[in-house]
Symmetry: C2
Subunit: 313 residues, 2 copies
């Protein structure tokens, strides 16, 4: 096989209590990426979108990932990649991770499945480094493994654990505002009292147990964040109202996706997730802030081969 | 029924990464407690051991628990309790918790099972308050629920979660030294960098996932502690040697039980746990420090009715 088209999904990281370790994949939205093996030892990148992303291989997220894979195998060929981004950069739902993970998985398919998922995560982290200066692992892990993932540790390599979970749907609202990653980091304290940390990891353990048991009440009780939300919520207009509206519409709980500005909530059924997104939408109806909304199940497979998709549609 | 004898087991709290939230019950050692309903509105306490524990109901752990239960139901009767403590006070394996939890469970049996396990945890916490000045919940939760328990939160009441887990055995060594709880607290920092906290809760989530999946390798990888062990291990002579010996003998991992001085390690089989305890024992052989050793499975039931036990034996 010399050509493959994949769908690379959006992902939610920093899942409430699981700051810097818990993530999950969404079935909507996703990027479409077509990768071709070419004879020339080079990487060619073409974007079919309006985001103005760089196309120089060293400065492009997918390009950096493909470059690190070609280097690793000392390849005598190259890649041509066409990318239709549907996940808006800066949305907080893993736009750069989708580019990075999609490129890694697509390349692996064309290379005869020679790398493990864990190895692909390491390649994809090179793309995150291009996007944000840090080899963050949580979005690309969820994107490559699918479902709910826990990154236990990140050094020397990411230790990614696929978590068992019951049927869950996500309501995501993306207010069209910009939050700079630097600002999202700057508002958080660098140190926390041990008592606060204990409350946080009590919830992390309980959330993992609730997911494993399929205990929705326990999942709901565990969706508390004492570490990021109290500080970052001030960067998102009407955050408390959003959350109250979502909970009143039946959500189990939720919080800021990644470092924002998207906000997500989890629900037991697609119908409830629809009600939740509508309720959150109404909060912004009375403002000047435009939004994108998604109702999605938790995508089980992560990056997947697009069988019936004609490129660019 | 007006009389009941129960076995109340030792417990391990602060299970490595699970500081202040993760605990489990041991099948050995355990206290033996016989509780009788009496007509007089009073509490009589008799100890069949040499620990010189107080017998005034307000100053005795079991007495405080029984008092809070009698108050709660506005009882017109009292209790007589005989306690044979086999779990040495100050050992770090939940001696006071066994008294507190055993009294609560025994009283509940005589009262026709009117309280939930969660309610019994709250009564038992009153005993911990007598023992150590704080209504700590992790040992009494493991003692009452049995198996592995996670205390998600402690206020307004403890939210205790029973964790699924595979067959596991514990090797416990109790060096006969005294660690004052105040010292164990004083050596720990009150604040931690966010990066350290993230590593800790990555392990908490992974340990809960490993227990749920029965994935021994994941359990072993998750048994890391960046919060208590680096500071408290200096209070336990030869700690690093103990741990190295236990791991070399096949343990999955382990750490300080409670706030010490007991050290525990987890193993897949009873045979390995036996080898682990022998290996740890040899570390102290060359010293003047006397030890007690236990090899135990994880006790599934917590406090249990003693059917064939004659009191005091």
């Amino acid at each position: 096989m010399d050509e493959i088209t994949v769908h690379s999904p959006a992902t939610v990281a920093n899942v409430v209590c699981g700051f810097d370790c818990l993530g999950f994949a969404l079935s909507e939205p996703f990027d479409v990426m077509t990768l071709r093996k070419i004879e020339q030892k080079t990487i060619r990148i073409k974007h079919h979108d309006d985001f103005g992303l760089p196309t120089h291989p060293g400065k492009n997220v997918a390009g950096a990932v493909l470059g690190s894979i070609l280097d690793n195998i000392d390849a005598d060929f190259g890649f041509d990649i066409e990318i239709t981004k549907r996940i808006k950069p800066g949305s907080g739902i893993g736009s750069s991770a989708a580019s990075a993970a999609g490129a890694a998985v697509a390349a692996n398919i064309l290379l005869g499945d020679r790398f493990s998922k864990s190895a692909l995560v390491e390649f994809a982290r090179n793309g995150e480094a291009v996007a944000c200066g840090s080899r963050i692992a949580d979005n690309v892990s969820a994107c490559i493994f699918g479902g709910f993932t826990l990154v236990r540790a990140t050094e020397p390599v990411a230790d990614v654990i696929s978590l068992d979970h019951p049927t869950l749907f996500a309501a995501v609202i993306h207010p069209q505002i910009e939050i700079k990653t630097a600002d999202a980091r700057a508002v958080m304290p660098r140190e926390f009292p041990l008592t606060t940390a204990v409350r946080q990891w009590g919830n992390v353990g309980a959330l993992v147990a609730g997911l494993a048991k399929g205990d929705y009440d326990l999942i709901a009780r565990s969706l508390e964040d004492f570490v990021a939300e109290p500080y970052r919520k001030n960067l998102i207009p009407h955050y408390d109202e959003l959350k109250t509206a979502g909970l009143q519409a039946g959500a189990l709980g939720g919080g800021i996706s990644g470092s924002g500005p998207s906000v997500f909530m989890l629900a037991r059924t697609r119908e409830i997730a629809g009600n939740v997104v509508n309720a959150m939408n109404r909060v912004y109806d009375k403002t000047e802030i435009a939004v994108n909304c998604y109702v999605s199940d938790v995508e089980k497979n992560g990056v997947r081969i697009a069988r019936d998709v004609i490129h660019g549609q």
